[in-house]
């Protein structure tokens, strides 16, 4: 009897972390675009970077419940770090430079994480917003380093791994970005399915009880905030590297707001929200700007309001709903061949 329950528990926990058919299809499709959509690589690169940036926000918002309106601070630090490393030929190889850019952003994340430990959502919104404003003005002020309002120009990217040149059609850049996105996604997936990730969800759900089961709540929040900042920094670094340019806009409020918007369109707390949101956002932007040219943000705004009002508790719940329906179809066909027992 006890043995059966152990089997059931093990099966439940294993299923929690298993790759589903949806996920496999998602990534196969993503990598297939390398061959099938060569004319779209520039746009897809940018979309993947948006997705990664929104994913970094999901790590803190969707898992630890930390809301931020200033995540561009880390995106921007990563972008300028990668840009400066390449421009001054400090670290020439892009992959290594990108890791360093991510670490720089993570360092800033660690330092500022202590400001978001306590307080309400409003406090956190204001603190994160404040930090990003400070970063923006610092970049503006130190124009001789950052290029100020003109942006950081004159970046020449060395070949990737010393071999693959960044071409003007963005083929190399897209493969490079997609591989980074995939690797970081897999890493994030491990993290959120680990005991550490579970403890984040617990803290988000109930900090009081979390402490009452022995979780050092503050340190867990510091850890995920730092990781999230590192992810954002890598996203920013990828933008600077693939465009050989960085401007003040990487640190702007609009950048932070876009990330939040994308994440909420895609849904929080299941990692794919940022990626799907970026795709939808991109498609909408293309479609709506064809339709109404200058007023496409009107429709984005309307959509946002609709999603939040309808979704309410489970933002992006409509994606969850579709997923459940698909999962049910799969399960039904699986049950037809092998009867499953237990819940």
């Amino acid at each position: 009897m006890t043995r059966q329950i152990e089997v059931d528990v093990t099966r439940f926990l294993a299923a929690r972390a298993r790759f589903g058919p949806f996920e496999i299809a998602f990534w196969l499709t993503a990598f297939a675009t390398i061959y099938f959509l060569p004319g779209r690589h520039l746009i897809l690169t940018e979309t993947a970077i948006w997705g990664l940036f929104a994913l970094s926000l999901d790590l803190i918002l969707g898992y630890a419940g930390i809301i931020s309106l200033g995540h561009a601070a880390f995106f921007g630090v990563g972008a300028y770090a990668a840009g400066l490393l390449a421009k001054h030929e400090i670290i020439v190889e892009p992959t290594i430079a990108l890791v360093v850019a991510g670490l720089a952003a993570a360092a800033l994340g660690f330092a500022t994480s202590f400001l978001v430990l306590r307080g309400s959502d409003l406090t956190r919104l204001m603190v994160t917003l404040g930090v990003s404003l400070v970063c923006y003005e610092l970049a503006n002020k130190f124009g001789e380093i950052t290029g100020g309002a003109d942006g950081l120009q004159g970046i020449t990217m060395a070949p990737l791994l010393g071999v693959y040149r960044f071409d003007m059609f963005g083929h190399t850049a897209y493969v490079y970005t997609l591989v980074w996105l995939f690797v970081l996604f897999i890493l994030a997936r491990r993290v959120v399915n680990s005991p550490f990730g579970l403890s984040l969800k617990a803290i988000k759900g109930n900090p009081l009880r979390s402490a009452a089961v022995g979780i050092a709540v503050n340190w867990r929040l510091v850890a995920i905030y730092t990781l999230s900042a590192g992810y954002a920094g890598i996203a920013g670094g990828l933008l600077a590297q693939t465009q050989a340019f960085a401007s003040l806009s990487v640190l702007s409020i609009e950048r932070s707001a876009d990330a939040l918007l994308i994440l909420i369109i895609g849904g929080t707390g299941y990692l794919y929200g940022g990626l799907i949101g970026a795709l939808i956002y991109r498609l909408l932007q293309d479609y709506l700007s064809d339709l109404t040219a200058r007023y496409w943000q009107f429709w984005i705004g309307l959509l946002l309001v609709a999603i939040v009002i309808v979704g309410r508790d489970r933002i992006g719940g409509w994606i969850y709903f579709v997923e459940m329906q698909v999962a049910r179809l799969f399960r039904r066909s699986a049950q037809a061949t092998s009867p499953d027992r237990g819940a």
């Binding site: 152990e6 926990l13 294993a14 680990s194 990730g197």
Partner: protein, 255 residues
């Protein structure tokens, strides 16, 4: 340093708590022996929950000392006290609404093992965790709802999970704050049954209003009134004490 077998596992010495001018706990000295079944009773506002919050570190004391197996824990953070072996349940459910009972218990056990910071392995992949989750689910009669979101569980099951999470911390001292509060008849028996069958080596401090529960469970009762320890003794003695009866005059004493 191994504690002597008959030394108290949990002890407070002159514990004070003041909120501004209000005295919520006044020089409380309680000593609880290992394996004891102690009940803490008192009228509303007597300071019972304040005392639990002081013991668990949710509140900082204004004065006095708390000792666990003779070691002072007065200045430790709540999570540090949990790791040393003080776990509690809450009067009002404090659960993880979006997690299942399996995840909730797996989490508590992982934290106890010190693997809560492990960010690489999958939850439950460490040996022994799933077996223990299974045992807890059975002990607390949660097997039928183990894979459901906690928010969707019937209230009685949530109360059981509340106790199960605390028990999963494998405490030396378990503080139960009105474990059966608000639970209707049949489910109430289920909860009381699980409490009665807690292992003898776990020391239990029960805060309860229901005198039937108190007198069937406790081997010793402490009565708290106005933030002070008023009377303490075995159940029959406390039940006969005229001062206790006087305090409870106007409240119902079902004994």
């Amino acid at each position: 340093m191994a504690p002597a077998p008959d030394s108290p596992v949990l002890e407070t010495r002159n514990l004070d708590k003041r909120f501004g001018g209000i005295v919520a706990a006044n020089a409380i000295s309680i000593s609880i022996q290992r394996g004891a079944r102690r009940a803490l009773i008192g009228p509303n506002g007597a300071g019972k929950t304040t005392l639990v919050n002081l013991l668990t570190g949710v509140l900082r004391s204004s004065g006095g000392e708390i000792l666990l197996d003779g070691e002072p824990i007065t200045n430790l953070e709540p999570h540090e006290r949990v790791r040393l072996g003080i776990a509690r349940t809450f009067q009002i459910n404090q659960l993880f609404a979006d997690l299942t009972p399996i995840e909730t218990l797996g989490l508590a056990i992982s934290e106890r093992h010190g693997s809560g910071r492990d960010w690489w392995r999958v939850v439950g992949s460490r040996p022994g965790i799933t077996a223990e989750v299974g045992e807890l689910l059975e002990r607390f009669r949660l097997t039928d709802v183990m894979a459901e979101r906690t928010a969707t569980l019937p209230y009685g099951k949530q109360r059981l999970l509340e106790i199960a999470v605390a028990f999963a911390c494998r405490p030396r001292v378990l503080l139960l704050d009105e474990p059966a509060a608000g639970v209707p008849g049949a489910e109430r028996h289920e909860i009381l049954g699980t409490i009665a069958s807690l292992p003898a080596d776990v020391t239990v401090l029960l805060i309860e209003h229901d005198m039937d529960i108190v007198f069937s469970f406790a081997d010793r009762i402490s009565v708290l009134v106005n933030g002070e320890l008023f009377v303490e003794g075995p159940p029959d003695e406390v039940a006969r004490d005229p001062r206790v009866k006087a305090v409870y005059l106007g409240e119902e004493l079902h004994a």
